[in-house]
C-alpha cells in the first residue's frame, strides 16, 4: 500500500514545497536556507521517483486513482516502464541542477522566486510524465510551460531574456490551446479522457466490442476526430520538443535562461514533448489502432521533421559564437535524432520487420536518456566556464579557460563524447541502434542521414572543445570563483554518461523491456489491462 501511495504522492506533495516558498522568501533573509530547502525538496522527489521506477520494473505497471474514483471518472496516474524510467532520470537530473543552483545563485536576490519556479518546473515535468489522463497532461504541460517562461525571463532587466521569454510564451500558449481544442474532439467522440481507455477504444474495441462500463463506446466519427485531434496535438507536442519548424523558440530561450535552467530546459523539458508524442502515437493511437493510415502518414512526417531538425540543428551549431547558443542548437539536432528513432513504427515496419521496430524505438528512448545526461552536463560545464571567463558567453572570450581546470575539462570531454557518440559512451550505442534499425528496415538513406548529422555536428563540438580547452588566448580568469561544488556535480554527471555506455548490454536489454511495455500490441494491452483492473477493483463494491 505504501508503494502505491508513493506513485500518487510524489507530484502533489512537491506542490506544497512550492506553495509556501514565496512567503518564506519574504520572511527569511538567509539565502542558504533556500538552497537547502530546494535541495531537500528535490531529494525527496528523486527518492520517490527512483522508488517508483524500482516498483514498476519489479512489480509491473502501477495505477494510482486519485480520490479513489475508478479511472475514466477520475484522474489516474499510470506508470509503465517508459514513464517510470524517464521520471527517475528527470528527478535525478533535477536534483543535480538544484544543487548546482546553490553555487550559481550565490548572491542574487529573488532566490525564493527562482526556486519556486524551479520546483514548479519539476512538478510540471514529472506530472507530465506520470499522468494517465489526456486532459491532466494539458494542465501539467501548462504548469511546465509557465514556469519555463518565467525562468527564461528571470533576468528581467536584460532585453534579450525578456524577448526570448515572450517569444517562447506567445507561441507556447497557442500550442497548448490547440492541444485543448484537440482534446475537445477526443472527448466529443470517444467520451473519455483516460489514455488507457482511449487506447482500448482505438485498438481493441474492434476485436472485443464490449463498451467500457463508464465511458461507453463512440459518440461520433472516430476517424475524423482522430485526424483533427492528432494534427492539433502533434503540433503542440512538436512545439514542446522543438522539432524543426517549431524549433525557433529554443535557441533563443535556452541560452538566455539562467544556466541551471538552460540545463533543465535542454535536457528535460524537450523530453516531455517527445514523451507525449510517443505516448500518443504508440499507446493511444497504438501500432494496431484502426486509424493506421493516419498514423503512418504522421510518422513519416515526423521522420522527415526529425531529419530536418537534425540537419538544421547541426548546421546552425557550427556557426555559433555563443557557447550556450551552440549547445541549444545541438539540442535541436539531438531531438531530431530521437524523433528519427521513434518515427520508425509505421505499420509496414511493424508487420514486416519487428526487429527494426524494436531497435528504432529502443534507440530513440536510449538516445533521449543519453542526451539528457550529456546536455545537462555540458550546460552546467558552460556555466562554470562562463563564470570563470568573467561572465562572457562568447567562445572567443572563453579562450582556453578549461586548461587551468582539468577536472572541468574532463567533464566537458565526457559530455561531448557522449553527445558525439564516441564508442565507450552511451551516445554511440544509441546512435548505433537507430542506425541499425533503419538498415534493418531497408531504409539505408535514413541511416546515412544519422551519420551525416553526427558528422556535421562534430565540427561544432570540436569548436566547443577548442575554444574552451585548447585555445591559446589570454582569458581573464576570475581567480576568486570557487568551482569545487559544480565540478563535483558535472563529474558525477560525466560518470553517469560513462556508465550509460559501459553498461550498454544491460541498458539495451532494459530499453527493449521498456519498448515492450508501451509500443507493442501486447504492451498496449497490458497498459489497458492495468487500468481496467483498477477500474473493476474500485467499482466492484458499488456496481455489484
Amino acid at each position: 500500500m505504501i508503494g502505491l501511495n508513493s506513485v500518487g504522492v510524489l507530484v502533489p506533495s512537491l506542490v506544497g514545497f512550492a506553495f509556501i516558498l514565496p512567503l518564506l522568501g519574504k520572511l527569511i533573509k538567509n539565502v542558504k536556507f533556500f538552497h537547502i530547502y530546494a535541495a531537500l525538496a528535490s531529494l525527496w522527489a528523486a527518492i520517490l521517483a527512483t522508488y517508483n521506477a524500482y516498483l514498476v520494473f519489479t512489480a509491473g505497471t502501477q495505477v494510482y486513482p486519485f480520490g479513489g474514483w475508478p479511472p475514466p471518472l477520475g484522474i489516474a496516474y499510470e506508470l509503465d516502464k517508459l514513464n517510470a524510467l524517464l521520471g527517475m532520470v528527470t528527478a535525478l537530473v533535477m536534483l543535480a541542477i538544484t544543487i548546482y543552483s546553490a553555487w550559481y545563485l550565490k548572491d542574487y536576490e529573488g532566490v525564493a522566486y527562482y526556486y519556486t519556479l524551479l520546483l514548479g518546473l519539476e512538478v510540471g515535468l514529472i506530472g507530465c510524465l506520470y499522468t494517465g489522463d489526456a486532459f491532466n497532461l494539458f494542465v501539467m504541460l501548462e504548469v511546465l510551460s509557465i514556469s519555463a517562461y518565467a525562468l527564461v525571463g528571470f533576468y528581467r532587466s536584460k532585453p534579450e531574456a525578456v524577448e526570448a521569454a515572450i517569444k517562447y510564451g506567445m507561441f507556447g500558449a497557442v500550442a497548448t490551446t490547440l492541444y485543448f481544442v484537440g482534446l475537445v474532439f477526443i472527448y466529443a467522440t470517444f467520451g473519455t479522457l483516460n489514455m488507457a481507455d482511449l487506447a482500448f477504444k482505438l485498438t481493441f474495441y474492434v476485436y472485443y466490442p464490449v463498451p467500457n462500463p463508464f465511458s461507453g463506446t463512440f459518440f461520433g466519427n472516430p476517424y475524423v476526430a482522430s485526424a483533427v485531434a492528432l494534427a492539433l496535438a502533434l503540433w503542440a507536442f512538436t512545439y514542446k520538443s522543438a522539432a524543426f519548424p517549431n524549433h525557433f523558440w529554443l535557441p533563443d530561450a535556452h541560452p538566455e535562461a539562467p544556466t541551471p535552467v538552460s540545463a533543465a530546459l535542454s535536457g528535460l523539458v524537450v523530453n516531455v514533448g517527445v514523451y507525449a508524442i510517443v505516448r500518443f502515437l504508440y499507446t493511444i493511437f497504438g501500432p494496431s489502432a484502426f486509424v493506421v493510415q493516419l498514423r503512418d502518414a504522421v510518422l513519416i512526417a515526423l521522420l522527415v521533421l526529425g531529419i530536418a531538425s537534425g540537419l538544421i540543428g547541426a548546421l546552425m551549431m557550427v556557426v555559433q559564437e555563443d557557447i550556450k547558443r551552440l549547445l541549444a542548437y545541438s539540442t535541436i539536432s539531438h531531438i531530431g535524432l530521437v524523433l528519427v528513432g521513434v518515427a520508425i513504427g509505421t505499420s509496414s515496419t511493424l508487420n514486416q520487420n519487428s526487429l527494426a521496430y524494436v531497435l528504432g524505438l529502443a534507440g530513440g528512448i536510449y538516445h533521449m536518456v543519453n542526451h539528457t545526461l550529456g546536455k545537462a552536463l555540458l550546460f552546467l560545464v558552460s556555466g562554470i566556464l562562463i563564470a570563470l571567463a568573467g561572465g562572457s558567453r562568447k567562445l572567443d572570450d572563453i579562450g582556453g579557460v578549461g586548461r587551468r581546470y582539468p577536472l572541468v575539462s574532463l567533464a566537458l570531454f565526457l559530455g561531448v563524447f557522449q553527445l558525439l557518440g564516441v564508442p565507450p559512451f552511451g551516445g554511440f550505442f544509441s546512435k548505433l541502434l537507430i542506425y541499425s534499425a533503419y538498415m534493418e528496415a531497408g531504409m539505408p538513406y535514413v541511416s546515412l542521414m544519422v551519420i551525416l548529422i553526427s558528422a556535421i555536428s562534430l565540427l561544432g563540438y570540436v569548436k566547443l572543445i577548442y575554444a574552451s580547452v585548447f585555445k591559446v588566448g589570454s582569458p581573464k580568469v576570475e581567480q576568486t570563483t570557487k568551482v569545487s561544488l559544480p565540478t563535483a556535480i558535472v563529474l558525477a554527471l560525466g560518470i553517469a554518461c560513462l556508465v550509460t555506455g559501459l553498461a550498454t548490454t544491460y541498458i539495451t536489454s532494459m530499453m527493449f523491456d521498456v519498448v515492450g511495455s508501451f509500443a507493442t500490441p501486447q504492451g498496449v494491452y497490458d497498459y489497458w489491462q492495468s487500468f481496467f483492473n483498477t477500474l473493476l477493483n474500485l467499482a466492484s463494491g458499488v456496481m455489484r
Partner: protein, 119 residues
Amino acid sequence: MFLDPLTATLILSGVLAFTALITWFIYSVVKSNPTNVSEEFKEPYLAGEPTSTLSRIDAPSNTLFWGFIYGLSRKLYHYLRERMHSGILNEWGEYMSVYLGLLSLIGLLFTALILLRGG
C-alpha cells in the same frame, strides 16, 4: 548482431581512432593563426578559429579547409541565418503555420480516404 563482441570492438576502436585523427587534424589546422583583425567583415564563425581569421580576404593556407566548406555553404548559411532564423516572431509563425497546414492536409487526406471507402 550489433552486439557481437568482435564487431563491436572493431567498430569501437575504428571510430575512436577516426575521431582522434579528425580531432588532431582539426586541432593542428586551427592551432596557430596570425590574427589580423578587420571588424567590418562580420562573417559566420564556422570552426574553432576566431572571427577575425575568417574575415580575412586572403585565407591563410592552413585555413583553406574551412574556407572550402564556407565557400560551398555560403548560400545555405545565408538562407539559414538571415532568412529562416531572422529572430522575427511573425516569420517564425509562417514556418510554424505551414507545418500546421501540413498536418491539417494529412488529416484531410485521411478523412477523404475514409469517406471514399464509405466509413
